[in-house]
Amino acid sequence: MTAATVPTVAALSRTDSRGVHRRLPIGTYAFLSIMAIVWLIPLLWAVYTSLRPKADTDKYGYFSIAGTYNFQNFIDAWTQGGMLTYFGNSVLVTIPTVLLTLFFASMMAFAVSRFSWRFNVTLLIMFTAGNLLPPQVLAAPIFELFKLTPLPYSISDSGTLLNQLAAVILANTGFQIGFCTFVLSNFMKAIPLELSEAARVDGAGVWTQYISVIMPLTRPALAALGTLEVIFIYNDYFWPLILIQSGNRLPITTSINNLQGQFLSNYNLLAAGAIIIVIPTLVVYLALQRQFIAGLTLGANKG
């Protein structure tokens, strides 16, 4: 997979240099255009619904064009749903998780890919396997472990790790390290060993080789993986569902459960809330699409 994936990513960012010019039949364009419209409908329908006051949709029905259009649902969803708190929680979970994951994974990847030692492949296999498991397999023991981890009340109001954002950070970090180690080790393996050797001859220790030689060269992979992980963690629904009991501590993606209950009878507000939650991912998508796709294809083992 290594051999096939890495040049593939290189190819992704090249402009297509093959001179093959196929004449595509009109049917292909028709098919693709119809599919593209079908693909856009669910999101456009949500946007459309969110722009209409509930009074109008009650009066004319959701499937209509009459009435007024405004952003009032967004303001209401934001304030009534308390979305600022949830967004804050997402930021507090996502940033530390991604930084910790990349830090630990890059150290491990450096050690397995640049040095030869007994068990290095075995450990890499174990790291990779861990990330491929369904998270539900780990849920009960992690829940119990965190529940039985005593913490002073000065830092945790539950007296344990449960119901703390730190629990979500830990669970996600543990689960993502394996994947990032696998991807980064493939990348680091391709960096010529002469570079480390030259640094060693100049008197650089292991840490210096890691921090000043290998890490700067790994930046493109770190950028791609970082983007991917930000989206993964922001989109994580499962760990907060299991580990957080207080509604106001949920990150935004899991808070969907609250919004769903709260806006049950008001689809306009629900749609507006959904669009608000989508916006950060869409911004990342538009700004960093290339990084995200590079991360996905470079780590195509992601289940």
């Binding site: 997979m1 051999a3 096939a4 040049p7 990513v9 290189a10 190819a11 992704l12 090249r14 292909t28 693709l32 856009l40 029905g61 499937f63 491990m108 640049r114 040095f115 030869s116 492949v121 890499l124 790291f127 861990g130 491929l132 498991l133 369904p134 998270p135 397999v137 009960a140 023991p141 119990e144 472990l145 543990g174 390290i177 010529p192 060993l193 002469e194 050797e197 220790g205 840490w207 890691y210 060269l217 930046r219 493109p220 950028a223 791609a224 989109n235 569902l241 969907i256 769903q260 959904a274 939650i277 998508y285 990084q291 995200f292 590079a294 996905l296 294809t297 195509a300 083992n301 289940g303």
Partner: protein, 314 residues
């Protein structure tokens, strides 16, 4: 940015310098390296490997979860309950199988088809790609909400287009247990096909164009070239796609949990694990038995993938 991503190092010739052996390292370097390996390994052990093992042990125990002294050996009782007495188990297995078949027969081939059509010089290829890929950025939970707006019995777009909204013939797509699995699968495919498309686009770009030209010079038509030359040449991508399709269908959870907590026609094995963990019927042993069933099934694609990936290395 473009240049940063074209991994030049990957194409460097095989290095004549062998990888460093630990013997050659100074004492200080050994300690540093030991920490660089030890800390991530400890995190993995505590948060992944030991919990997996603990799930296995708990599946044979009766435990109230209150203290570390109250374990009781329970033999195979949890498994007996989970597999034979729990009314949701076999429906859940069936739903997981349907999930896998649907992704394998509809979602994945659709992604491949889109990739093949969009590969090469097609006008607006990037725009199409962006559209099909967009749902992959969204959380699966949010996809559940977005499709709820489509599927709603009286207010959803689909019943309005069909003209049944507000009548007694209106289908409750997410609520009716005879159709809701299919409705959820369409929403899941909305995301899955874009994901597969991106992976195959990358795979197709990795195929040497000269073999395609050679095939067409030999008189092969487009279809023959694809199925006999291009598709087999993407063996590495194909393995990944097979594994992803299987693992995605075993991991499916978020979308059914958002729709109705995975009940009434949407039971999946992953949901049963969680129901016995967080619900009113909290029985850790039984939840763990379901978790181990899920683990054993998951190990099939995981071992297949790992043996393919690491075989050549050692």
């Amino acid at each position: 940015m473009t240049d940063q991503l074209s991994f030049p190092a990957a194409r460097a010739p095989r290095s004549p310098v062998p990888r460093r052996r630990l013997r050659q390292l100074s004492r200080r370097d050994k300690v540093v390296l030991g920490l660089m390996i030890g800390i991530p390994t400890l995190i993995q052990a505590v948060l992944v490997w030991i919990p997996t093992l603990a799930s296995f042990l708990l599946s044979f125990m009766k435990w109230d979860g209150l203290s570390l002294t109250s374990f009781q050996w329970n033999g195979l009782t949890n498994y007996n309950f989970a597999l034979n007495q729990s009314p949701q188990f076999w429906p859940a297995v069936l739903h997981n199988v349907v999930w896998l078949l649907f992704l394998a027969v509809v979602g994945t081939p659709l992604g491949l088809l889109l990739a093949v059509l969009l590969d090469g010089k097609i006008r607006g290829s990037r725009v199409y790609q962006s559209i099909f890929f967009m749902p992959v950025m969204l959380s699966v939970a949010l996809i559940g909400i977005i499709w709820q707006l489509m599927y709603s019995q009286d207010n959803g777009l689909i019943n309005n287009v069909l003209g049944t909204a507000g009548t007694s013939r209106a289908v409750d797509w997410f609520g009716d247990s005879s159709v809701n699995l299919w409705a959820a699968l369409i929403a899941a495919t909305w995301r899955h096909a874009g994901y597969i498309m991106i992976l195959y686009l990358a795979g197709l770009k990795g195929v040497d164009p000269s073999i395609k030209e050679a095939a067409s010079l030999d008189g092969a038509n487009g279809r023959q070239t694809f199925f006999q030359i291009v598709f087999p040449a993407m063996a590495a991508t194909n393995v990944i796609i097979v594994v992803i399709t299987i693992i995605e269908s075993l991991r499916a959870f978020d979308i059914v949990y958002v729709i109705n907590r995975g009940t009434n026609g949407l039971e999946l094995i992953s949901v049963l694990v969680v129901q016995y963990l967080v619900g009113e019927t909290q029985v850790i042993g039984i939840g763990s038995a379901f978790a181990i069933v899920l683990l054993v099934i998951s190990l099939v694609p995981i071992v297949f993938y790992l043996s393919r990936t690491f075989r050549t290395k050692e």
